[in-house]
Symmetry: D2
Subunit: 253 residues, 4 copies
């Protein structure tokens, strides 16, 4: 049975999705009637709960993907297609330590917190108080964040950690913080960056060339969906064409 | 200092990469001279070790990405761009349990073993003895696999586990094993599939429609690299255009 | 000066585009006031005409691209990115002869008529009366079509021409008309097809394999736009991800 | 029957392609034996000619696509996927006039010459004598070029034409020639550019913003091929990922 407070994904008969905390005192108002969260809890993951009008809702244990997509956003979030690749490139797994800036809405923070387990650590920096708060709340809401330290600080002043296993910068002018980044990571550690424009990528590449970095890569990841119809299988008409350029490098002695 | 037996990534002055176990008794023969692994161990991650001709080699702690790319392959492997996305969609993180078939060369098995930590579990099935062995060796070589159970079995006979958190099928005719899959996973659990041709995708979709599954998705992930030159930034001339279609669904009551 | 009756492209101060026939008796009602077509004619291509409120409108000679995009549509049209490639593959240029079915809204017919010049010929077939009429009107409106013969006929009965230089089928089940197509073209002539789903492509490929055809190719063309900002250059957020698969083959003896 | 001197496409039993002038005095040496061009002429387009070892070769009338792909190249050529789109955007068809620089190997020149017919005109500029010669030869070899004027000149000195219908610049620093371009075209005429790097695109966009131009667009065209197997249809493993960015604008009063 889902534990109270944890997020649960509720899917309507028409496929509409609600990511909600499992608070047995509450109800969900839907177009198909009122759904009692106590009924959801009783049904359990993978089962059906019914509204007061008898309409069936699927009760789903949200995957990391669902949690990331359900982040309340006030900023551009980082998408699952990029997050998965970032985790592999930075070696984010149980026990690792990683610095991230800025926190933004916390979609990457959430994924890192999920993957690092009890023995890993995320140090996330955010200058703007409203995003600092938003990131904390998004993690708490997802039942994650015990392995996260939040800093409401300007990274121009440097990072408080040393020797972390990896570092990710999702800020507008990452080339201004390369010295700070190089000092914070372990020798040879991987660094990642996300930037929307090619002009920023050029400027970052120049900065990386001038500093103690190696193995620089630039790439983008495109995701193309298909209409899942066995007899009329075809790509969807439109797709997201750009979320950002990913840049990776390693600290070098 | 890297612990003996663990893989270490050695990068030549020209950027050539060697993923090798750190066995202090051994040496690496390179075009730039002989590199003693004892010197590599002494240098440590992020530092430089020198060949007997004085040529510098970077000593790198391999990320999960490096480990996946370093898998010895006798089959088509699953690539990092797909692996990252699969992990998120299936909710593979510390403590989760997952079934995978077939093991193949073990690139996804390796990534799952990495992410699931000490408390998670991979049950990986492979019918062909040579791949069964190869997958085991690739995991052992990477210093992973303690949370993996290998089965040299035909999944037509069903899976030995029940109630696992997720399941991934990378086999030629996954539609033949949907009953077995549905029985092995927890209610509402996510399933993933990887297939090379559109004909197979159509056949799988028909199978999923006929069975206890919901939320079916089909997609592909494309990765486009850029030449990392600040003054002449441009996409690379050629790219990998197809590694496979990813299909996801959920078990439904 | 633009000749009366020809289409003219009028671009508002905000970039809104109107493709209209140059009828000096008429006016264009805009948000920025009334624009007299007599003033447009007097201004001439490349110049500015003013509304009665003094707002400037650019008077543009439409390119073939503009004409294709301006086709009044009741069907899915064929897009410029595909049209250009089709023209090259089929060798559509001054003096060539080509059969097309179905006419649809006439976007490809229009482009062929434009390229074939006075000595070339398009034979376009359309079964449905409403599209037969629509195609004629779209060509007439663009000042084209003198080299086009329209047939309101079912191609199951075969084509009335022989020995044409090329043939293009944009119909739902092209594999049913391959015999008719093979008889209508010159020996070795190129054929083209446009289909939305992979299932149709498979069926067509099977048909082509079974008939007198060679050099079969399947491809798709993707167009990705960028925001044209020199200091913040980046791909647009979304793009058209699928308009159709193009298939080409040659008749073989 | 193909006329002497015209290019003919010969396809071997294994699909190997030869684009050769139809000179009845000559022979083609192949792995399957000697093919007499006199036999090719006698067979005719769409038919089979046999080598002295009795091996069948298809005799194909080359399409514009085949001619473009057959251009002898000493430079990066412009590819059919871009050429088709350029033709539409610039309105290149029977009777139009267009300036192009540089000529390069002449693949775009060839396509323009093909499409413009007897009443159209290409003015092509090339500074380097070796490409100036190469372009002429490639056109002559294809049986085209009667509507082309070649200039072995530096476009920094301006263009000799005025009021042309369109202009295309495929040079390294097009932003240096925008004044010359604006003077050469008719009011409101379309201009096109092809550039490999994003830095060049940025610089060109800045130049276009500063000059008498409007309706600027930046885009790229990707072509993805499929293995044409009805039962195992799938994208090819690798693809061309970048040939260049296309930029279009209009002269503005």
């Amino acid at each position: 049975m889902p534990s109270p407070g944890r997020l649960v994904l509720l899917v309507s008969p028409k496929g509409k999705r609600y990511l909600r905390p499992l608070d047995p005192e509450r109800t969900l108002q839907t177009n198909e009637g009122i759904l009692k969260m106590s009924d959801v809890a009783e049904a359990g993951f993978g089962r059906i709960a019914y509204t007061h009008l008898g309409q069936p809702y699927q009760v789903i244990k949200p995957s990391l993907y669902d949690l990331v997509k359900g982040v309340k956003r006030q900023t551009q979030i980082i998408y699952p297609k990029e997050i998965g690749y970032i985790l592999l490139k930075l070696g984010i797994g149980p026990g690792a330590s990683v610095i991230e800036a800025g926190s933004g809405s916390g979609s990457l923070t959430l994924a890192m917190s999920f993957m690092l387990g009890e023995t890993g650590k995320v140090y996330t920096y955010e200058r703007r108080p409203e995003f600092f708060e938003l990131c904390r709340k998004n993690l708490e809401r997802a039942g994650l964040g015990r392995n996260v330290e939040h800093f409401n600080a300007d990274i121009a002043d440097g990072f408080l950690q040393e020797n972390v296993d990896a570092l990710f910068l999702d800020v507008r002018t990452p080339w201004e913080y390369l010295d700070q980044a190089a000092k914070a990571v372990a020798p040879g550690a991987p660094l990642g960056f996300l930037l929307p424009t090619v002009n920023q990528v050029s400027e970052l590449l120049a900065g990386l060339e001038a500093g103690p970095f190696a193995d620089t890569e630039v790439l983008e990841i495109l995701l193309r969906r298909y209409k899942p119809m066995p007899e009329r299988l075809r790509p969807e008409d439109r797709m997201v064409a750009h979320t950002g350029f990913l840049i990776f490098a390693r600290q070098r002695d």
